[in-house]
């Protein structure tokens, strides 16, 4: 990549130092400050959701229900699920990393609609407080899936939680809209679609799903709120409604939502694997195109959540086929990442450790998903711990741990300081080991028939559950160490250079941390950001010479 530089008159303060006082944060329209605010908020919510997970795991340490009673247990897993899904995984990668790096990768000064970006954050906080009010106000125990008829008849502050989810949806839609317009309209000179960093291809696919699927969730929860308040009979079977229709509506959003969660992780891995192997990415077009294919096909597989809900067997066959099919674009990505490492100069940096971890965990999560997509097997495994293990491998092992890896990758850019690398490497290994200790046993108990969402279970599953609980405690501890050294790094770590990883995308060509207006000059681009062997630059030169 080449850049045109201009003389810089005086050193400019970074975005962190440019203004002071809480108002300069809370009402900032700077995408970098908004990203940092999202970072703080999602981290706090992740701790809250993690505490709930801890309660669930400690209760399950023994087969008998002793720590929590049934009602408290229901509330604990409901809060764990809804906090982690709606407040952490869906917003974290797009709103933190996406917000921070998207305009920088485009060499732009900001996103297309900075005020809308700030509004998304405020709307997010409003929705989050509504959802958390449900926790304070009483027994919110429907599970994050809000299945009718239980959710339409149970007493308790379900409407608060639903209103929170409705409001959070706006935040998600507005962020997606902002990103798509920014990628379309604000690319720098020379950045054609096929020179777009892969992070941006996956943010584009994510945003498309956010815009097209989230409004369906909005109308679904709105109908449920109306059903609860005046009983319009749309989901309540006693009034003539069809609870399975709710499941269709809900999963029409919530299955694509798992791609809102995992697609940004694909982008993060694509960046990290190329930079930390110092190698041009293998199969650029395959990785970019498969993100779009996943976004499209992923919107057509929602029925695989309902194989046992009495939907037509012909629909089930189609949904099962599409579920198998989605493994194809996903596999294209995984093979491309592995091929990128081949003959690369692999750096054993913390982001690379998270790439290794992602490849292993996502493979397990993805392949068990194919198992669950098989009609006859799903009848046995539906609503067992096998499903719980599967989606934690994808959602936590795939999405959250990769998001944390992405934080390690962009941390020196965000804060201009490096965290202790050795400690980070060791901790990432501990996270990986304790993650497997927690969730691998669940595949075993699940396939033997242990159902999810019960606070007690038969004694023969006890030893495996105890392993899982010990693993969960180790996992929580390792993640707290990670949080500790990242915070230490941000404030006290060694000063990082502009480009500590020798990366080629545009965000690494400005100061660390970036100045308020991102760049002193308008960057231009003449190749993909993965041109480590210089092949593309050579090609460019040949074309230029030939045209002379």
């Amino acid at each position: 990549m080449s850049t045109e530089t201009e003389a810089v008159e005086a050193p400019e303060p970074s975005y962190l130092a440019a203004h002071r006082g809480w108002k300069s944060w809370a009402f900032s329209v700077d995408h970098k400050r908004i990203a940092v605010m999202y970072l703080v908020a999602t981290t706090l919510f992740m701790i809250a959701g993690g505490v709930m997970a801890g309660l669930v795991r400690i209760e399950l340490f023994t087969a008998a229900g002793d720590l929590l009673d049934a009602d408290q247990y229901n509330r604990a897993f409901t809060l764990h699920g809804s906090i982690m899904v709606f407040l952490v995984i869906i917003p974290a990668a797009p709103a933190v990393l996406g917000n921070f790096v998207l305009p920088l990768m485009l060499g732009a000064r900001d996103v297309a609609f900075p005020k809308l970006n700030l509004a998304s954050f405020h709307v997010y906080m409003l929705g989050a407080s509504m959802l958390l009010m449900a926790m304070v106000l009483g027994s919110f125990d429907t599970g994050w899936t809000f299945y009718t008829p239980y959710s339409s008849t149970t007493v308790g502050p379900v409407a608060w939680a639903l209103t929170g989810v409705f409001i959070l949806g706006f935040s998600s839609i507005l962020t997606g809209l902002n990103f798509i317009v920014t990628i379309h309209k604000m690319r720098p000179p020379g950045m054609t679609w096929l020179r777009l960093p892969l992070m941006l291809w996956s943010m584009y696919a994510t945003s498309a799903v956010q815009i097209l699927a989230t409004p369906v969730l909005a109308i679904t929860v709105l109908l449920l709120i109306i059903e609860r308040s005046i009983g319009i009979g749309i989901f309540d079977p006693t009034l003539g409604g069809d609870p399975v229709l709710f499941q269709h509506f809900f999963w029409f959003y919530s299955h694509p939502a798992v791609y809102i969660m995992i697609l940004p992780a694909f982008g993060i891995v694509s960046e990290m694997v190329a930079v930390h192997s110092q190698r041009s990415i293998f199969g650029y077009k395959g990785i970019a195109g498969s993100s779009l294919a996943i976004a499209i096909v992923g919107s057509l597989v929602w029925g695989h959540h309902m194989f046992t809900s009495g939907q037509s067997i012909y629909s089930s066959v189609l949904f099962s086929f599409l579920t198998f099919f989605i493994a194809v674009p996903t596999a294209i990505k995984v093979f491309s990442w592995v091929a990128t490492m081949y003959k690369g100069r692999i750096q054993f940096t913390p982001p690379m450790m998270y790439v290794f971890s992602f490849l292993a965990l996502f493979m397990i999560g993805g392949l068990t998903g194919v198992v669950l997509g098989a009609l006859s097997i799903d009848v046995h495994l539906h609503d067992t711990y096998y499903v719980v293990a599967h989606f934690h491998y994808v959602m936590m092992g795939g999405a959250i741990l990769t998001y944390i890896g992405g934080l390690h990758h962009w941390w020196p850019k965000m804060f201009g300081r490096m965290y202790p690398m050795r400690l980070a490497n060791i901790t990432s290994a501990l996270v990986f080991i304790s993650f497997n200790l927690t969730f691998l046993p669940m595949f075993v108990v699940g396939s033997r028939g242990m159902p999810r969402r019960y606070y007690e279970y038969i004694a023969s599953f006890e030893s495996l559950n105890q392993i899982a609980t010990v693993g969960a405690i180790c996992l929580g501890a390792s993640l707290f160490v990670t949080l500790g050294y990242l915070i230490y790094g941000a404030f006290r770590g060694e000063i990082a250079s502009e480009n500590p990883w020798n990366a080629k995308s545009l965000e690494w060509q400005t100061a660390s941390p970036p100045i308020e207006h991102n760049f002193h000059y308008q960057p231009t681009v003449s190749s993909t950001p993965y041109d480590y062997d210089g092949a593309e630059a050579e090609e460019e030169q040949k074309v230029a010479e030939a045209s002379k």
Binding site: E6, A108, H184, I230, G233, G240, D242, F519
Partner: protein, 217 residues
């Protein structure tokens, strides 16, 4: 900061992070189209529910449509279609720099929207009078089968549409102010274009709701 990042010969209504007025305009326009796409998906949930329950309870749907007042629905369709026309005339006059006329056409559009809501209110009042309430509160008796579900969908769909009309009236009033104080002009007219698009969508949703609920046999 680098002067080259933002050419200083831009009109002052171009935000500093855009390279040109054209870039700002096309970004705003694309943002609006994406917003409309999500609006359509929002309403699609209601259309889907309508289709599913029409399939389950065909007889209820037939007799439910008979109870709705076709003439009032038709009158409202004419009112909304006319308001779309006056909105287009407003934008055209704005672009021809006839500011006073543009503002006048916008207020006429708002007036027609108000007229739509008045007719709607009469319809609702008449139904309530007959005991036709949504869902479990239904006491009408005139409709066979699951009348509560039909009228649940009727009230929710037309109610959400009416809410969009109210929001549109507010936005159009705001646009009229902005034209009058000179912050929306013939050159910088993308806000007017975008609100026009929104208004046409509100119109379009009704164009689907009216035949589905009132007419289809």
């Amino acid at each position: 900061m680098g002067a080259s990042h933002h050419a200083s010969d831009q009109p002052e209504w171009v935000a500093p992070f855009f390279e040109s007025a054209e870039q700002q305009r096309s970004a705003a326009s694309m943002g609006m189209w994406l917003f409309l796409a999500q609006e359509i998906l929002f309403f699609s949930g209601l259309f889907m529910a309508y289709i599913a329950y029409r399939w389950l309870y065909p007889q209820t749907w037939l007799s439910g449509a008979e109870v709705l007042n076709k003439w009032m629905g038709a009158a409202n369709t004419v009112v909304l279609l006319t308001s779309s026309l006056t909105m287009v005339l407003a934008i055209r006059d704005l672009q021809l720099k006839k500011t006073v006329m543009a503002v006048r056409w916008i207020w006429i559009t708002v007036g027609l929207a108000g007229m739509f809501l008045v007719v709607k209110a009469f319809e609702y009042a008449h139904k309530f009078h007959m005991g036709i309430f949504p869902g479990s509160h239904y006491e009408g008796g005139a409709v066979e089968g699951m009348a509560g579900v039909f009228f649940g969908i009727y009230y929710t769909a037309t109610g959400l549409h009416a809410l969009h009309v109210v929001i549109g009236m507010g936005l159009l009033g705001w646009l009229a102010m902005k034209i009058r104080n000179g912050s929306v002009t013939a050159e910088n007219d993308v806000l007017a274009e975008n609100l026009g698009l929104y208004w046409h969508l509100v119109d379009l949703v009704w164009i689907f709701l009216f035949p589905m609920l009132y007419l289809v046999k």
